[in-house]
Symmetry: D2
Subunit: 339 residues, 4 copies
Amino acid sequence: MTQHGTLGVAVIGTGKMGADHVRRITDVISGARVAAVVDIDAERVKAIADGIKGCAAYTDPAEALADPGVDAVLIASPGPAHEAALLEAFRHDLPVLCEKPLTPDAVSALRVLEAEQKLGHRRVQVGFMRRFDAEYIELKRVLSSGELGRTLMLHNRHRNAYCPPGFTDAMLINDSVVHEMDVTRWLLEQEITAVTVHHPNPSSNAPEGLHDPQFVVFETDGGSLVDVEIFVSCGYGYQVQAEAVCEKGTARIGDQHGLLVNTAGRWGGGIAPDFVARFEEAYDREVQQWVDATRRGEISGPSAWDGYAAAAVCEAGVRAQAEGGRVEVEMIERPAFYR
Amino acid sequence: MTQHGTLGVAVIGTGKMGADHVRRITDVISGARVAAVVDIDAERVKAIADGIKGCAAYTDPAEALADPGVDAVLIASPGPAHEAALLEAFRHDLPVLCEKPLTPDAVSALRVLEAEQKLGHRRVQVGFMRRFDAEYIELKRVLSSGELGRTLMLHNRHRNAYCPPGFTDAMLINDSVVHEMDVTRWLLEQEITAVTVHHPNPSSNAPEGLHDPQFVVFETDGGSLVDVEIFVSCGYGYQVQAEAVCEKGTARIGDQHGLLVNTAGRWGGGIAPDFVARFEEAYDREVQQWVDATRRGEISGPSAWDGYAAAAVCEAGVRAQAEGGRVEVEMIERPAFYR
Amino acid sequence: MTQHGTLGVAVIGTGKMGADHVRRITDVISGARVAAVVDIDAERVKAIADGIKGCAAYTDPAEALADPGVDAVLIASPGPAHEAALLEAFRHDLPVLCEKPLTPDAVSALRVLEAEQKLGHRRVQVGFMRRFDAEYIELKRVLSSGELGRTLMLHNRHRNAYCPPGFTDAMLINDSVVHEMDVTRWLLEQEITAVTVHHPNPSSNAPEGLHDPQFVVFETDGGSLVDVEIFVSCGYGYQVQAEAVCEKGTARIGDQHGLLVNTAGRWGGGIAPDFVARFEEAYDREVQQWVDATRRGEISGPSAWDGYAAAAVCEAGVRAQAEGGRVEVEMIERPAFYR
Amino acid sequence: MTQHGTLGVAVIGTGKMGADHVRRITDVISGARVAAVVDIDAERVKAIADGIKGCAAYTDPAEALADPGVDAVLIASPGPAHEAALLEAFRHDLPVLCEKPLTPDAVSALRVLEAEQKLGHRRVQVGFMRRFDAEYIELKRVLSSGELGRTLMLHNRHRNAYCPPGFTDAMLINDSVVHEMDVTRWLLEQEITAVTVHHPNPSSNAPEGLHDPQFVVFETDGGSLVDVEIFVSCGYGYQVQAEAVCEKGTARIGDQHGLLVNTAGRWGGGIAPDFVARFEEAYDREVQQWVDATRRGEISGPSAWDGYAAAAVCEAGVRAQAEGGRVEVEMIERPAFYR
Ligand SMILES: [Mg+2]
Ligand SMILES: [Mg+2]
Ligand SMILES: [Mg+2]
Ligand SMILES: [Mg+2]
C-alpha cells in the first residue's frame, strides 16, 4: 500500500456490526475498500464478496490475512474469536481495528498486550466509538480546556428501549456499562480503581432473570466519583447522557434536542430508537479516522491498553454485581509502550 | 383608609375575570378586601357578597362607589361599560384598576384621558398583566440593561388552543394582539406608528368566518420592527413567546420548559391549556402591586395613556386587516401629564 | 378566631427566615397578620413590631403564645429551640408551622410526636417548602398518575454557589440533604431504610475542613434507589434538579430554562443565585396553604412524623458520612395517628 | 465509468468552496475521486493537483471536461462563470453538481433550463445543501407525514456573526435569503409568488451602506406565509432556525442544544461560528448522495428548475428591497420535464 493508495481491509465477522462496517467502508468513507470478508458461513461470505468489486471471500481468517490485497484488518467477530484473529494480524504485522471487547477477559487481553509489545510498535485500535461522537468530543474539549476546573464527578445515563433475548446481568456490565468505563477513562484520563453496584427494584418490563435497572459507582485513581444508571429495558428509546460536575461548573450532553414539536398539549421531540441511530456518525468517523491514520502509517484512537483496562474493570464490575459491596479493580501497571 | 389599613375594593363586573379578581383579593393577595361587588345580575351579585365578610352587593356602579367602605375600584365589566365607570370613579377621586380595554375605541379613550387630567393627578392603571409576568419582567430587564445593545426586532407568537364562539377578525386584533401592542410599547419604550396584516391560509380548524392565523407587522417611532403571529385555534394549547433581536444578541421567552418527560419515543413536556394557567401569577402580582401602590397613595403600572395608545393602534390594526396594506396609526401627542 | 377572621400569627425567631416570614404574612399572603414577634434580641423585636399594626413584641415565647391575639405559631428560631416552642404551643393547643428541622435529632423529635399525640389531634406542619414548589408538584402529579409506571430510581442534584462560614460535613446532611430526604419520602411515598455516602475529591473551592461535593445514596422500603449529589460550593449558582426513572419513562425538573439569550458565541440563560430566589413562590404557597387550612380548622402539609423521619435519616446519613459504608436507618413504626 | 467504478470528478473553481469540495471528495466521501481541477490561477491549480494521485490541472474548463478521466463535474466557480461551464458539461453529457446560484439571474437560468431539456434527460443538481441537513430532513419528514396537518406559516431566522467586506443589500437577498427561498419551496412544495421586504433600524454593527437586519415576507401559491429575519452582522455566531406553524402544531429546528454547560451564573452552550461548522455534515451528505446517484446513472436533489426558481424569487426580492412594497414573482410555468 502506497501512502496515497486505497487501503485494502479484511473484515472478519459479517454479523450485524461486521456487515455494517462492510457497507461503511464501501459506500460511506473514503480511502479504503473491502479487500476480503471472512465468516464461518461460506455462503453468506460469498454473497457479500460478490457484491463488491475486487473483494475475496474466506472462511479462515488466517488465509484472508495472507491475501496480498489485505493492508489492514477490522475484527467484528464474536469476542471469544478476537484473540486468535489479533495474533494472526500481528503475524502479518497488519493494523487492526478491533470491535470491543478486545478479548472477553483481562487474562487474555494481557496476552494480546504482550504480543503487541513484541512487535515493537502498536497495531491495535479498539472500537470504543463514543470517543468519535461529536457531543462526547465537545464534552472532552470543555473538560480538557480547564475552563470548568477539575472534574469531580461524572453522572451517566445509559438506557436502551429493549435488550436482546438472553441478556444477562454480566452482559449488562460487559456489553453496556463497558462504554461508560471507557468514557470515564478517556474523559477523566484516570484509571478506575473500584466498582460498587446498587440494585433498585427491577422494572416489571425487565426480562425474567435480569436485574434491570442497576446503578453502578466507579472510583478512580484521581479521586473522581462516577455513577452510571444502566437500564436496558426502559422501553421508551435509546438514550445516553453524561454530566460532568467540575469545580467551576457542570457540562451535560445527551439531551438530544434537535427538532422541537408542539402538538396536542405537549412540547418536545423524538428519541433515537437505538445505538445505531444515535451513534451512526460516530461509527463513520471512527472508521474514517482509523483508515486515515493507517494510510499515514500511524496508530491513534483507543489502544489495546484501553481494551485491557476495560476488561479488568468489567471483571470487578461483574463481581461487585454478584457479591454486593465494593470491589477493587486489579490491573497491571501501565507499560511505557502504551503511554 | 389609613396608610396601614386594608384597602376596600369595589369590583365592578362579576363575569369570568371579575369573579376571579374577587377570589384573588379575598384569598390570595394581602392588604385588600372586597368591600363591594357590582353586577346587573342582582341575584348573582348578592350570592357573591354573602360569601365575603363585610362585602355589600350593588347593581348600580354609582351607588357602589358612594359606599363609604370603598377605597378603590377594579373594573371588570364589558368594555363598553368602562367609560361610565371610570368617570364615576373620577367623581369620587378613587384609584382604579381597569381591565383592558380602557375603552373600546380611541375617541372614548381620549375622553377618559381628558377627565383624568382634570383631576390633576393620575388615578388609572390598565390591566395589561403581561407586564407583571416573571418572564416578561426578566426580558425587559435584559433589554433595559443594555447588555445586548439596542433592540432592532421583536418576534411574537400568540397561540390559543381554541377561541370562544362568535370570535371575529376584529376581536383577534382588539382582544388578542392588543397584548403584543402593549408589550411592544412597554419593552421597547417606543410608540407604534404603522400596522400591516398578512393573511396566510386559514387553518381548517378555524371557526367559520374567522381568518386564523394572521401575521401582523408593527413599525415603531424608534425604527424597530415587530411581528406577531396570532393563531387562536391552534388546537394544541396556549403559548405566548417573544424573541427580541438586538445588536449584540437575542433573548427569547415562552418556551415553558419546566418539567421534562421522556416516554414512548418522545422527550418533552406539557403546554399550558389557557391564559389563566399561563398568567396566573402575573394576575396575582398585578393586583398585589396595584393594592400596594394604592395603599402608599401612589399610582404605577400601565396608565390610561397606555390604554389610549392600545386603542389607537387597534383601530389601525383592524383597518389594515380589513383593507390590506399598511395603515398608519393616528395618535395625539403624549401629554406631559402621562410622561 | 372566627372562620372568616384574619389569623393572628406569632412568629418565633426573627433571623433571616423569620424576618422573611413576617414580611410574607404582612405583605404577600392573605388571611393572616403577624400578631406577635418573638426574639431574644429585645430591640430587634420591638423595631419589627413597631412597623406592623397590632403586632406585639416579646422576648419570651411562652408569653407570646399566651397573648389572646395569637391564633397560630410560626417557629423560625434555631433548631435547638424548637422542642420547647412546640411543647408550649401544644399547651395552648395552637396550630404550628415549624421551620425544618422539627428538632435537631430523632430522640427529641420522638418526644414531640408523643406530645402531639397526647393532644388527640395533629397540630404541626413542618417547613419542607419543596412540597409547595410548582415543579415538584408537577413531578409528583406525573409520578402519582401512574402514566410512567412505578418509580425505580430518583437522581437528585443540589448545588449552592457558596455555603455560609462554619458549614460542616454534618450540616451538609442535616441542613441540605435533608430536603432530598423529605422529597424522596414525599414523591415515592416510601421510607428511607439505609444511607451510603461517597466522597469524590473535594473541590479546591470547598472551605477548609469541608468534604464538598459528596454523593449520597438512599435505599427505600419500597426498593427504590435514590442518589443525591450535594455540592455547596459549586460557585456558579443555586440549582436543584430531580429526575425520576420509572418503568415507562423518566421525568426531570430543575433545568430552569425561562429566558434564553444568544450572545457572544453562547446560548443560554441565568441561574438563580440562591434558594430564596429559586423557592420564593414555594415559601409563599406554603405559608398561604397553612393559613388557609388553619382557618378552616384543618391540618395539612408535612407532619411531625415527616420531621421525625427526616431526623432519623439524617442521623444515619451523618454516621455513613463519618464511618464509610452503608448505614441502616433506625425508626419506630409509624403510629396510626400519623397515617 | 462502470457501475462499481470510482467517479472521476472535475472540480471547476478552487476558491473556498471549491477547495473544500476537493478535500471532501478526496478525504471524506466514498466512490469518487478528483480527476481534474480547474482554475484561472495556473499555479494554484497545479499545486492542488500535485497533491492528489491521478488528478490533472487545467485553466480552461472546456479542456478539463474533455479529459477522458472525467465522469462528472462539480462547479464551484463564481456565479457569472456558471452558465458557460454548465453548457460545456451538457456538450459532454456530464452530470453536474452546481454550487448555488445556478446562474446570477432568471434569464440566464432559463437558458440553462432550455439547454438541459434539449439533452432529453436531467443532468443538473444545484447546491442547496440545507436539503441534506439532518435537522431540515427531520422537519421535512414531520411536515410531510401529515401528523401536524397543513403548514400555514414558516418563520425563519438566518444570522451570521459577520459578513465579508463589500457585502451589499442585493447580496443579502441573492446569497443569504436565497437559502430560505429554496427551503420554503422544498419544505412546503409550493412556489413563492410575492415578496415584501421590511427594514428595521440597522444595527450599529452593520457595515457602512448595508441595511442589516432586514425582514422578508414571502407569499406562496399554496397560500402559506413565510417570514425570514436576515441579520448578517449579528455578532454572536451563526444561527439558522426554522419554525413551521401547522394546523395541529408547530415544529422548530435550529436551537442547537447539544452540550449544556452551567457556569458562572449562566446555563447554556456554544453557538456555531459559521455555516461551515453548522452545515459541515450537510455538505458531506450532499456530495455523497450526488456521487451515489450519479454512479447509479440517476439524478436527484435540487434541479436546475430549483435554481431557476430561486433566481426568479431573488429578482423579486431585490426589487422589493429597493422599491418598498410587495413585488410579485415572475416565473414561467414549470415544464413537465422538471416535475
Ligand atoms: Mg471507501
Ligand atoms: Mg386580601
Ligand atoms: Mg396578610
Ligand atoms: Mg473519495
